[in-house]
């Protein structure tokens, strides 16, 4: 397992999404989409909701969330790590069942190019969290 605990997963992903939120080129698109996207992780457990539904501000909520998401994406936390490292082929992950998407698939796919710039931010987030060893592991 890449992340040793749910707390660590939370710290790293909330940091990453906080940076996505403060970059208008990414958060602007997410807010314009008005989508509520929920990421559900296992090994370790975690749940992150990215809510742009009010069209104003991107809300980031870890854990329980009361609004029904438009799209739910479920995967192992390791797959999420590989994804942010830019190493996951989404079509392969879909065909092998590593990624589960619930809801309108085209809307989920439309977000991919929007968040792609965050691939460059993720290594910095890992360094901040003292996990730079993960960067070396190929």
């Amino acid at each position: 397992m890449v992340f040793t605990s749910s707390e660590e997963l939370e710290r790293i992903l909330m940091d990453l999404w906080g940076r996505i939120k403060s970059d208008p080129s990414m958060s602007g698109e997410l807010v314009r989409s008005k989508l509520i996207v929920q990421f559900r992780y296992r090994e370790p457990e975690g749940c992150l909701t990215v809510d742009g539904s009010d069209g104003q501000e991107l809300k980031l909520v870890w854990g329980q969330y009361d609004k029904k998401p438009t799209i739910e994406m479920s995967m192992k936390a390791d797959v999420a790590h590989e994804f942010w490292m830019g190493r996951v082929s989404v079509p392969v992950a879909v065909l092998t069942g590593k990624m589960v998407s619930k809801g309108p698939t085209p809307k989920a796919l439309a977000l991919l190019p929007v968040i792609r710039p965050a691939f460059n931010i993720y290594p910095e987030v890992l360094k901040q969290a003292g996990k730079e060893a993960l960067l070396a592991s190929g």
Binding site: V94, L95, L109
Partner: protein, 387 residues
């Protein structure tokens, strides 16, 4: 070699008149009361008769027959079929028809097995467990839905299609009986054949997900279609031609459901959702353009196909790939298929509407498997070219 997964869980039975022994297959999967899903044309034409006979003789029905599936089935159709199946206490489904019927049966099975709203199950890999037994008898040689892991149902209000994709969606058995395809009119024979050809050529080009297994199926399927589709189109009663194209469409189905499709399907989905054009016909019109668009990304794959099909002798990949595009255009002509969107009922659209259509195509799930990234502008260009 790169790692890959290949799913082929459907038992495939081929033979003239095999549909007449469908009851044996249903029984093996534990079915006791069958729910038959079909469409009104097929029912009236007597295509479903041998299936009903077999099930009745074995004491498995006639519990319920839903024959109201329209081309490009929608949410409402699924809901009324589910109500009927539930009322009849059916525990297995038999689908007899083209892709519209089979996709309907798949989504009916989701609702029947799990209960609740179908919208909760749309998405990818989003089904929790095995479904009730489903046996499919295709009456078109095209979609490959009888072995595929996907189903699409129209949301008529939103003018888009809901996508369901899961390994649990693969039917338990596919019964390929060429006798049931005999009545398919020439235009639909050609169009559905081109759906299968598109599956095969797009699966071959889906380089990030294809495998040697999917490639082998795709190539052989394309070859069978090139060799037999003109005859099946010219003479629907030619059982040899019907047999080869039917098996080819199932092979192409296995190829694409494991490797994915591409830009041609993405554009056909967007166009079909908007203008109600037939899926195979729309694929046919876009296919040469899609091949041209991808040519620079996968000349080796297209060259491989062109040489395997015997339509190119060039040692140069690009030249051979261009021969493939030519060969596809010639095959369209031999099958009397239209080559322009306007001939299949697509109106000339304004820039704004074109942008919407292109947006739908670039976010269509099919496009993620395409070997070359396509922008909204690229799609717009192809649309204008094909118009």
């Amino acid at each position: 070699m790169l790692p890959f997964t290949f799913h082929a869980p459907t038992r495939i039975l081929f033979g003239e008149h095999t549909a007449g022994s469908i009851a044996d297959v249903v029984k093996e999967f534990g079915g006791k009361k069958s729910f038959i899903v079909t469409d009104a044309n097929l029912f009236k034409a007597g295509v479903v008769a041998p299936i009903i006979e077999s099930l009745e003789a074995a004491g498995l029905g006639r519990t319920a027959i839903f024959d109201q599936v329209p081309p490009d089935s929608d949410i409402r159709c699924v809901n009324s079929a589910v109500a009927m199946a539930a009322e009849g206490g059916c525990d297995n489904i038999v689908a007899v028809g083209g892709g519209s019927v089979i996709d309907t049966a798949k989504v009916v099975n989701i609702c029947l097995t799990y209960g609740g709203d179908m919208l909760d199950y749309q998405g990818l890999n989003n089904l929790p467990s095995k479904l009730s037994p489903l046996v499919c008898v295709p009456t078109t040689a095209g979609t490959g839905s009888e072995v595929s892991l996907v189903a699409m149902i129209k949301d008529a209000e939103e003018r888009k299609k809901l996508l369901f994709g899961s390994r649990f969606l693969a039917p338990d058995a596919a019964i390929l009986d060429p006798c049931l395809v005999v009545g398919l009119p020439p235009r639909l024979t050609a169009a559905t054949g081109f759906d299968a050809l598109t599956h095969s050529l797009e699966a071959l080009a889906a380089v990030s997900t294809s495998s040697v297994i999917s490639d082998a199926l795709a190539l052989e399927a394309a070859k069978l279609i090139f060799e037999h589709l003109p005859a099946a189109t010219a003479d629907g009663a030619d059982l040899e031609a019907r047999s080869h194209t039917l098996v080819a469409s199932t092979m192409a189905g296995l190829a694409f459901t494991n490797a994915g499709v591409g830009i041609v399907h993405a554009m056909a989905h967007a166009t079909g959702a908007r203008f109600g054009t037939h899926h195979g016909m729309t694929n046919a019109v876009y296919l040469p353009y899609g091949l041209e668009f991808n040519l620079s990304a996968v000349p080796d794959k297209y060259a491989l196909a062109a040489r395997f099909l015997g339509i190119s002798r060039s040692a140069d990949d690009e030249r051979a790939a261009m021969d493939l595009v030519d060969g596809v255009r010639k095959l369209m002509q031999r099958c009397h298929l239209p080559s322009r969107l306007r001939e299949i009922g697509v109106p000339d659209i304004a820039e704004g509407e074109l942008a919407e259509l292109a947006e739908a195509a670039v976010t269509d799930p099919a496009i993620m498997f395409n070997p070359r990234e396509a922008t909204v502008e690229d799609i717009g260009g192809i649309f204008k070219g094909a118009f």
